[in-house]
């Protein structure tokens, strides 16, 4: 099988939710080629994840499929990323993400992390129960393009406003876009606290960040 066929197999396997097939194709590409082949494989994963995201947004695919495709991508990227030259996988910019203080839920955030890495972003994942200072410090230290906050609980949504206020206080608000998402939140709330965007789901959130990256 030549490398084009292997790239096709990688994409088809990911879109067919065939983890074994995708990992095998990625391994063949990594073994058989140099830096260019690995970069092509990463691009193929990214393209496939774009298709998955579109299918999810169009209601053709569902959360289990989105999550499992993300898991396959994670396995494949685990093979490919160490073979890439430094920085090559993170060209699209840096995104800082975390679940706000007092909230320990991370499913939506983790889906975003998988798909954003697949799309070529460097992701600084702060985890869950993240205090205001850690969000702000990470945004400053990484010169982040965007800061994403996840919040499942209405009882903790007030944390989002605190982070935005602290970004403003430290003079960082103009340089970092803020996007929020989570079951507790709405577009109305996002506007109310001064976020730049609301993400009803991880894929829509990634689309927004991609637009910011391209502009």
């Amino acid at each position: 099988m030549n490398s084009d066929e292997q790239l096709g197999t990688l994409k088809e396997s990911l879109l067919g939710l065939d983890m074994e097939g995708a990992v095998e194709a990625a391994r063949s590409l990594a073994d058989g080629g140099g830096q260019a082949a690995v970069q092509d494989a990463v691009s193929a994963v990214s393209e496939a994840l774009g298709v998955v995201g579109k299918r999810f947004q169009d209601g053709e695919w569902f959360l289990t499929e989105l999550v499992y495709a993300g898991e396959i991508a994670k396995e494949v990227m685990g093979l490919l990323t160490p073979l890439l030259e430094a920085g090559a996988a993170e060209a699209a910019g840096t995104v800082v993400v975390g679940t706000v203080a007092g909230d320990l839920h991370d499913l939506g955030k983790n889906i975003f992390v998988s798909y954003a890495r697949g799309a070529g972003f460097k992701v600084v994942d702060l985890g869950v129960d993240v205090p205001v200072d850690r969000f702000v410090d990470a945004a400053r230290e990484s010169s982040a393009l965007a800061l994403g906050m996840s919040c499942l609980l209405t009882s903790t949504e007030g944390e989002i406003g605190k982070v935005i206020a602290e970004l403003e206080r430290q003079g960082l608000r103009e340089s970092v876009k803020v996007i929020v998402g989570g079951a507790a939140l709405t577009e109305q709330f996002a506007r109310h606290v001064g976020a730049d965007a609301f993400a009803p789901d991880a894929i829509t959130g990634l689309d927004t960040v991609k637009k910011w990256s391209a502009s």
Binding site: L17, M19, Q57, G59, W61, F62, L63, T64, E65, V67, Y68, E71, G102, D103, L104, H105, L107, N110, L153, T154, S155, A183, A184, L185, T186, Q188, F189, P200, D201
Partner: protein
């Protein structure tokens, strides 16, 4: 009509004297405020190293009493607020040492979930599902084997718990027992959603075994809830997320359809009605709910795009609708005019011909009792049959 006749008439898709109003009160934050009670500072006690061990033991020994007291207060508060009905829920929980949790203690439920306790700014206790403890097939098998006696005990407790609440409050409000968590939730949450998604594709036989186990257990649980004698029972499973079903509807049918049919049959054989709870955007499952035999649905989460009018249009009077006033803004900090407008809209959209019970879309600790009062008041003013708004 009294509260019971009002609910039962609506459940038959007939018009009662006025639209019934159901409370989804369960959070101590709400009950305490309505009843003027100070919260028990369990969080403070658990954070005190000198008290923690003792408090943990007391909680574990008296968990059934804590649950009873919580829902006795919820029913008392619901009566005071003027609701015709309120739900009652039992959760089996154990506090265990866990250095990874903030307080050094974790809360494990009978099914294998890890919960963490926090308190709100007034000291009211909040428990939130964090993750599953049974992340591998081996862990799941071992848990289920070890917990068999606990499951039997839980079933006994459930029956006595709901019966006692009905005995003590059933003459003043209609306490609708809720068999929760559901089969899907009990199947995936203890495993975790990422693992569950992996297993769906990599270990389908295991997933089917898990669901079969929880179906049998759920039917026993449901039967225990129905021993309260109340004619309406709630079941549920969160099948939706913010933008659609969590799984492909065909996969839900394949994995859970037969289980849900058995649930409905179990309820109907006892001459009861089944109202099904699901959070999330569930438009594409509504016909399935009818097909599986559910009599009604509760929640229809507005933050997931669910609108009563659209649901009614889609399913007509094949399902009783219970809901769906917003708990993210409206019943937390909405104005009286906004609450009133939402109540009128809900009545206009869903109440004609009966088959509608007005309620919040969910319980929530942030819900303001004053807004609940406004909701009930507006329902009484605008919900008289025949509907004329």
């Amino acid at each position: 009509m009294d509260f019971k006749e009002r609910i039962l008439t609506a459940m038959e898709h007939q018009e009662p004297d006025r639209v019934p109003v159901m409370g989804l009160v369960m959070d101590p934050a709400t009950s305490n405020q309505v009843l003027g009670k100070q919260p028990a500072d369990i969080g403070g006690l658990l954070n005190d190293p000198s008290m923690r061990g003792q408090v943990k033991d007391i909680i574990n020994l008296s968990w059934n009493d804590i649950m009873y007291s919580n829902f006795a207060d919820a029913l008392e508060a619901s009566i005071k607020l003027g609701f015709d009905a309120n739900w009652t829920v039992y959760t089996s929980m154990e506090v265990v040492e866990d250095p990874q949790c903030k307080t050094g203690l974790a809360w494990h439920d009978a099914f294998g979930r890890l919960w963490e306790m926090t308190t709100d700014d007034k000291g009211n206790m909040l428990l939130n599902y964090i993750c599953g403890l049974l992340t591998t097939e081996d862990k799941w098998e071992a848990w289920v084997e070890n917990k068999r006696p606990s499951f039997d005990m839980m079933i006994q407790n459930v029956a006595g718990y709901h019966r006692k609440l009905v005995d003590n409050y059933g003459d003043r409000i209609y306490p609708i027992g809720y068999a929760a968590p559901g089969i899907f939730e009990n199947s995936w949450q203890p495993i975790g959603f990422v693992n569950f998604s992996r297993f769906v594709y990599q270990k389908p036989n295991f997933v089917e075994r898990v669901i079969a186990f929880h179906t049998d257990l759920y039917l026993r649980y449901l039967d225990a809830v129905m021993q309260s004698g109340v004619e309406v029972v709630m079941g549920g499973d969160d099948l939706g997320q913010k933008t659609g079903p969590m799984m492909r509807p065909e996969l839900i049918e394949k994995l859970l359809g037969e289980s849900y049919r058995r649930v409905s049959e179990t309820v109907h054989k006892k001459g009861r009605k089944l109202v099904w709870h699901s959070c999330g955007n569930i438009y594409s499952l509504l016909e399935k709910f009818v097909e599986w035999g559910f009599d009604g649905i509760i929640t229809m989460e507005p933050t997931a795009g669910m609108e009563l009018g659209r649901v009614r249009e889609q399913v007509g009077h094949k399902l009783v609708l219970v809901g769906n006033l917003d708990v993210s803004y409206l019943l937390v900090r909405g104005s009286r005019e906004e609450v009133e407008a939402a109540v009128k809209k809900a009545i206009r959209d869903a109440a004609r011909g009966g088959g509608y019970i007005l309620s919040a879309s969910h319980s929530h600790s942030s819900v303001d009792p004053k807004r609940l009062e406004w909701m009930v008041d507006a329902a009484h003013r605008y919900g008289k049959y025949p509907i004329s708004i």
